[in-house]
Amino acid sequence: MNRIERSVLSNGLRLAVVPIADLRSTSVLLAVEAGQWFEPAGRPGIARLMSQAMLRGSKSRDAEAWATAIDALGAVARLDVGQHAAVFSAQCLGSDLRELLGLIAEAIRTPALAETEIEFVRAQTLAQLEKEERDTRAVSDRVWRQLVYPEGHPFRVPPIGDSVVVRTASADEVRAHHRAAIAPDGAVLVVAGGTTARDAAQAAERALGTWAKRAEPRETRHPLATLSTTKHRVELVPDKTQSDVIIGWPGLARTDPRFTAARVTNMVYAADTFASRAGNVIRDQLGLAYYVFSGMGSSRGQSPWIVRMGVNPQNVKRAIEVALDELRKVTLGQIADDDLALAKDKLVGELDVALESPAGVAAMVLEAELFDLGEDHFERYPRELRAVTKDQVVETARVFLPPERYALAVAGPPLPDVLI
């Protein structure tokens, strides 16, 4: 990793710059603590409505003029709502960094949030929700969340939101959420690529230095997600040939000291279709699925920790059984030393390979900064991965991935078997 130049603007916005010689492009990530975790209780979808509306004009130029200015730079940009943060991600030529940050600042700090633009975003979002009704991946995700997270939990609904909320949210509600959620407190700006630390710092100060802090600190409290028993639901989606399957559990916070062991556990079990146990058996040995992988989110809460598979309906029951069998072996400590070494090697090796792109560098730095992992994180992290023991993997799996208590969602054609 190239040297990370860190600084803090007067309003508390943290800046991390990674200059990379010989590159023409620069990746920019601005993460604001405005993800699902910070949505008003019972109003899932407000954060995404707000973020999409922020891309449709500012106080100083309308939607068309702002979009034209982004395209005139040749920049690529988007604003996504994640579990923890709303992240503005963009790429531009290094020479355009100042102009790009200016446009991002307009969208973040002074969006117009005009009634007509909110209506536009609402219609687009409802169209997307309608499309997702027959998208087996989206349906399985929505169903799984309902099984795991209690009413009022921010992760109970995907970031796109609930159709009732999207239909009924007023412009005033969207604007109020902007006032409450969009602030430099806790925000992080990462710039990686063809720029210098000085140029990036000056551009950041100019665009975001006077962004006002929040007047009062926010408090977030959410119900705990627990799985006291196995839950499952099969959702029929007409005219499909493949079932999407999710087996999962509420995970752990990125700031939890057990997170590094959890990453190793995830890799041993199912993170990679080829290198992990579940994928190796389900795809490579038995030919039951084209893809099998698991993932765990990064947030301050219990992000989903899920295994996903795309399976022919005839094979769904078998694939689930095998996935759980492989998990049972992990919880029983039936882990070959080489499987554990492989998982750790892969996670450490990926850190080097991710350096090949400015976007990869920026993503790694953002996670470290956003969750306060420490200035020496990139020195410690490989050592910490290597230090994870088999006992820790077993313990992590038993605590967080109990094979006798899980949530199972299947979306697709009718199944020939009763699943459980």
Binding site: T68, P238, D239, D272, G287, E356, G360
Partner: protein, 411 residues
């Protein structure tokens, strides 16, 4: 052929092996054979039994995969540079020594069927596959890549092995390496790995099935319950990558739909189709693309409709926009914006070592250019007149293929 590029900003090397074999080399009854074979190249050699490759590359944290297109089959590994020679050893070994056993063929068949079934869940795939079949009456591009499910089920081990021995050889491959080392050294190592391999003596002539000129619009309608939003897709017969108009057609695609897909992004919203269809509430999403291909292929444009919008209304507006760009010059300001997007996208893609190698291989294997620099120059030299003229030549009613996806209520 070997090709190396220096990229010093990260301690990695990306190795790509491009074989000149894909959907275009298949005949009816064996569609999907090249793609099936791609899967079998991960099933081991005598020296590296099944699983060996996976574990070795995983251990290095490698990013590695493969894909098959109508024109080529491609394998890549991006590894920490200390492991470049291992990647070379693995690729050169499986170039001639893959086992392709009967047992593994049977096990992988269900995986490939599963892959196809995953695609079939997507209405855009269903419509695109049908439209591509309609657009070609002779050329094998009409067959697509993954093959029909019935033909995947009928594929034989011996057929796959013959296909492998014929097409997987140094005299039918491009090797492209990019990474943190002297290009001469990268080339020397690659030459040592692939040079001693026996060539194929059975390559034969490249497939020749020239597509006759199209003399009128062709239309299809796909009725399915597997989607909720209607889709309009238009595909025009378009020239190959070596055609002098290829760069202008790339610029035309950006003029119509920008460089990054997806209506929830902030980019490409000044493009013509976005303004005419998305901003007006007719469509939820639009796209346009021109792909660099060996033989004349297609220029695509499509729109996913907002609920309640009629296909005919969207098709009419889309065709009006296409007619405008074919008749009138884009103005200077718009042209500068398009040019900037096109050239910036080149920098974005090639600043990642893996994608720099990919781009280089794509240009070489299709003949579009001899280097990334040469292709960049071609894009930079495109004029407003060339965009208009390319649109006028390609976006014609006679060469048009139109597809509608009509969602049906579930039974």
């Amino acid at each position: 052929m070997l090709y190396a590029l220096e990229a010093r900003h990260a301690p990695v090397v990306s190795l790509w092996v491009w074989y000149h074999v894909g959907g275009r080399n298949e005949v009816p009854g064996t569609t999907g054979m090249s793609h099936f074979l791609e899967h079998m190249l991960f099933k081991g050699t005598p020296k590296h039994p099944k699983g060996d490759l996976d574990r070795l590359l995983a251990r290095y944290g490698a990013q590695w995969n493969a894909f098959t297109s109508e024109d080529v089959t491609c394998y890549f590994e991006t590894v920490p540079k200390a492991h470049y020679r291992t990647a070379l050893e693995l690729e050169s070994d499986r170039m001639r020594n893959a086992l392709i056993s009967l047992e593994e063929t049977e096990a992988e068949r269900t995986v490939i069927v599963s892959e196809r079934e995953g695609y079939e869940n997507d209405p855009s795939f269903l419509l695109g596959e049908e439209l591509q079949a309609v657009a070609f009456s002779r050329h094998t591009y009409g067959q697509g890549v993954i093959g029909s499910k019935d033909e995947i089920k009928l594929m034989t081990r011996d057929g796959l092995y013959a296909h492998y021995r014929r097409f997987y050889a140094p005299n039918n491959a491009y090797v492209v390496v990019t990474g943190d080392d002297d290009p001469e050294r990268l080339l020397e190592d690659a030459a040592s790995a692939f040079g001693p391999l026996e060539p194929s003596r059975d390559l034969g002539e490249p497939p020749k099935a020239p597509e006759p000129e199209q003399h009128g619009e062709r239309r299809i309608v796909v009725h399915r319950a597997g989607g909720t939003l209607p889709i309009v897709m238009v595909a025009f017969r378009a020239p190959r990558a070596t055609d002098p108009r290829a760069a202008a057609l790339s610029a035309l695609a950006v003029t119509l739909a920008g460089t990054s897909g997806g209506s929830d992004g902030a980019s490409g919203r000044s493009s013509r189709l976005h303004r005419a269809l998305v901003e007006t509430g007719l469509a939820a999403d639009v796209d346009a693309s021109f792909q660099l291909m060996k033989d004349p292929y297609l220029f695509w444009a499509d729109a996913t409709l907002r609920p309640g919008i009629r296909h005919a209304d969207v098709e009419r507006v889309l065709l009006v926009e296409l007619a405008k760009v074919a008749s009138d010059l884009v103005d200077e300001e718009e042209f500068e914006r398009v040019r900037r997007q096109l050239l910036a996208a080149t920098a974005f893609n090639t600043d990642t070592i893996t994608w720099r190698a990919f781009r280089c291989g794509q240009l070489l294997s299709t003949g579009a250019a001899n280097s990334i620099g040469e292709w960049y120059e071609k894009l930079a030299a495109v004029t407003r007149e060339q965009i208009r003229d390319a649109a006028r030549d390609v976006l014609t009613e006679r060469a048009r293929n139109v597809g509608w996806f009509v969602p049906e209520n579930a039974a």
